[in-house]
């Protein structure tokens, strides 16, 4: 290998790939049964964290940043005057194997600019995955980005070698897509998603009949959209997410706060802050829907189209619904405890276990390691008179927020003061 050239390529093509936020390496079922290299069962591992605090689990690179498309929000867009580079198939394979052997990574996340056409690009991505699996007996995690418009045959082939596939829907609305990514259209994105969904279902059925059925995208599919580039409300974003979760059974929808990289007047100017708090609130909502039994419409709806930046969405919901509280932690059903601000899934499960042994007081919760600074205003425990129900909702809000030392306190205050 020509090392200097590789170093150069790696710099350019990891730089261009980093705006893809997914770094998940969990949820696959691929086990090392062939005495090969690697294992992708179970939990993912973050091998390190970037200085911006994001998990590094996969070698995340583009095959090339040459691209025939001109999407305004993308740093690899055709009209952008940047250095271009392209890996060979063998180079990507060597990097993946050698990084993996040193325990740097859980696997490969491979994406690409579109050169020539969709299938031509997709074919290259698939050939890398194939080579890793067949020639190197590689059982680590592979996430392939599916190129919009790729043929069904190639998608099926990709799913046989990759653990996860994803097609990015890029922008939350079709209008936004037309405006900022005129070369792309929603239909081209949904078609491969649908092919995958169908394939996954077929293989699942087959698996019931024969345990020798090969794996087919065992970690499912995901998608990503850019937040804050095209003026959508949080409601539009979350309703779109809901549509994709339901229609294509996605494992994850990722929200990527737009990082200003262009002087294009259709976009937020360079120097505009990345909407990190908003992004975080969207993820919190996503979690509430997937793990806490909330419906999206309870959190955002035409009356409340945007998430509040200064409080998490569960707290915001609770303050709008004083009639739901107090929740008695000694008697309430689990789903109700899930809805108490400040109590997470783990804590709720601890509570229902521990209350079999004694009536729980506030200090028991503290013993269990459960933070009560927010929860105390919304629960009834065996401690006498701890619930402050007489306070009007606004009073609770002030109490809660005055005790709030969340990680975003400073940023929130900055970002709020802009309005």
């Amino acid at each position: 290998m020509n090392w200097e050239k590789i170093v150069d390529k790696l710099s350019i093509l990891s730089d261009a790939a980093k705006y893809d936020v997914s770094c998940a390496s969990s949820g696959s079922k691929r086990s090392n049964t062939n005495k090969g290299l690697g294992d992708a069962r179970g939990m993912g591992i973050c091998h390190t964290y970037t200085e911006d605090g994001r998990c590094v689990s996969l070698l995340k690179i583009l095959l090339t940043n040459h691209c025939i498309f001109d999407c305004a929000y993308c740093t690899s867009r055709k009209s952008n005057d940047i250095k271009r580079a392209a890996f060979t198939v063998q180079e990507v394979v060597d990097l993946t194997i050698n990084f993996y052997r040193r325990n740097y990574i859980e696997g490969l996340f491979l994406s690409s600019g579109i050169f020539k056409d969709a299938d031509f690009t997709m074919e290259r991505l698939v050939s890398i995955a194939k080579k890793l699996r067949t020639e190197h007996k590689f059982n680590g995690y592979i996430h392939l980005k599916a190129i919009p418009g790729a043929s069904k045959e190639l998608m099926n082939l990709a799913a046989l070698y990759a653990d996860r596939l994803s097609v990015n829907i890029e922008l939350p609305t079709i209008e936004g897509l037309k405006e900022l990514a005129p070369d792309k259209n929603r239909a081209d994105m949904e078609r491969p998603m649908n092919d995958l969904k169908t394939g996954i279902q077929i293989y699942k059925e087959e698996k019931k009949k024969s345990r020798f059925t090969p794996l087919f995208a065992p970690a499912g599919q995901s998608t990503q959209m850019v937040v804050g580039a095209s003026g959508e409300s949080d409601m539009q974003i979350l309703y779109t997410a809901k549509y994709f979760y339901q229609k294509y059974h996605l494992k994850r929808v990722y929200y990527s706060g737009y990082v200003p990289i262009s002087t294009d007047t259709r976009l937020p100017a360079i120097g505009t802050a990345v909407p990190m708090v908003r992004e975080n609130r969207l993820y919190q909502t996503d979690w509430l829907v997937r793990f806490y039994g909330f419906k999206v419409e309870e959190i955002v709806n035409p009356n409340f189209p945007d998430l509040e930046l200064d409080k998490d969405p569960k707290l915001a919901w609770a303050l709008r619904h004083p009639e739901f509280f107090p929740v008695d932690i000694n008697t309430a059903e689990l789903w109700k405890i899930y809805r108490v601000p400040g109590i997470g899934v783990q804590s709720a499960l601890k509570i229902v276990k521990a209350r079999n042994f004694q009536k729980l007081r506030l200090d028991h919760l503290k013993q269990l390691g459960i933070a009560t600074n927010r929860a105390q205003y919304f629960i009834r425990t065996a401690s006498p008179m701890n619930f402050q129900a007489e306070l009007p909702s606004k009073g609770i809000e002030q109490l809660v927020l005055s005790n709030y030392h969340g990680k975003y306190k400073n940023i929130v205050q900055q970002q709020l003061s802009l309005f």
Partner: protein, 252 residues
């Protein structure tokens, strides 16, 4: 009069089980457990040296296993591997609670002993997970992938299977420099080993030439995958505490 009794054991798990044997045998109520190399401080105590006896240890262990579920067994073993000074007491109180109680106590998380053990398990588990993440193999000239680590707790036994399974087709050594022992995988089995002199992380002469180049590539990747405008040093350090940096290639 119940004079404080200090039970001194050799630091092995079997030794600890023999302490439990003695406590039950002589119905000792007030006791303190110390490892052989730990300092003795109480003037008015009676020192009892506990000899490790396989048969007695096995009897105690069988007794515990009869009462304990999978979770309790795991808690006891992991608390032992924490090597925290004095943690033996929590383990023994837990065993007593387990033996004395008629119902399953595993979920009684508001009980102080269960709570404490659960916290220790959490700490040890976190370290185990960190070592799965932070081990950085370096390719030695003799073709073995080597990694030095200094975990807070004795987690090698807990990560052995993970690495054996994952790196089934390469020879590797993971060496605990603090406890001076390591694991060696020879393409067939994993065995414990001790090195006379453990390699230093930055001793370039014992690594293959290619090794240095891949380390450079990894550092480059680490730098370029960062998004400058999202910089968040506090979060970075919370995830990758500084004490681990000296063995992390990307931080060297």
């Amino acid at each position: 009069m119940n004079l404080l009794k200090i039970l001194i054991y050799d630091g092995s798990f079997e030794g600890l089980l023999c302490c439990i044997f003695r406590i039950y045998e002589q119905k000792i109520l007030v006791f303190k457990i110390v490892k052989k190399n730990e300092p003795l401080s109480d003037l008015f105590a009676e020192n009892i040296e506990i000899h490790t006896d396989e048969v007695r240890a096995q009897r105690v262990w069988s007794g515990i296993q009869r009462k304990a579920g999978k979770i309790s067994i795991e808690r006891i073993l992991m608390a032992f591997l924490s090597e925290i000074q004095g943690e033996e007491h929590t383990i023994i109180r837990y065993v007593q609670y387990l033996i004395d109680s008629k119902r399953n106590i595993e979920d009684n998380l508001s009980h102080p002993v269960v709570q404490r053990l659960q916290d220790v398990v959490k700490m040890v588990n976190r370290e185990r997970h960190r070592m799965k993440a932070f081990v950085r193999f370096q390719l030695l000239t003799d073709g073995i992938y080597y990694s030095g680590i200094e975990p807070d707790f004795n987690v090698l036994p807990l990560i052995k299977d993970h690495f054996a399974h994952r790196y089934a087709d390469q020879q590797w050594i993971i060496y605990d420099l603090r406890r001076n022992y390591g694991l060696y995988y020879d393409l067939k089995t994993v065995s414990e080993m001790e090195l006379e002199i453990a390699p230093k992380a930055n001793a370039n002469n014992i690594f293959q030439e290619e090794e240095i180049l891949y380390q450079e590539l990894w550092k480059k990747y680490f730098k370029h995958t960062n998004i400058e405008s999202r910089k968040n040093t506090a979060l970075h350090i919370r995830h990758v505490p500084k004490r681990y940096w000296k063995y992390l290639t990307e931080k060297m």
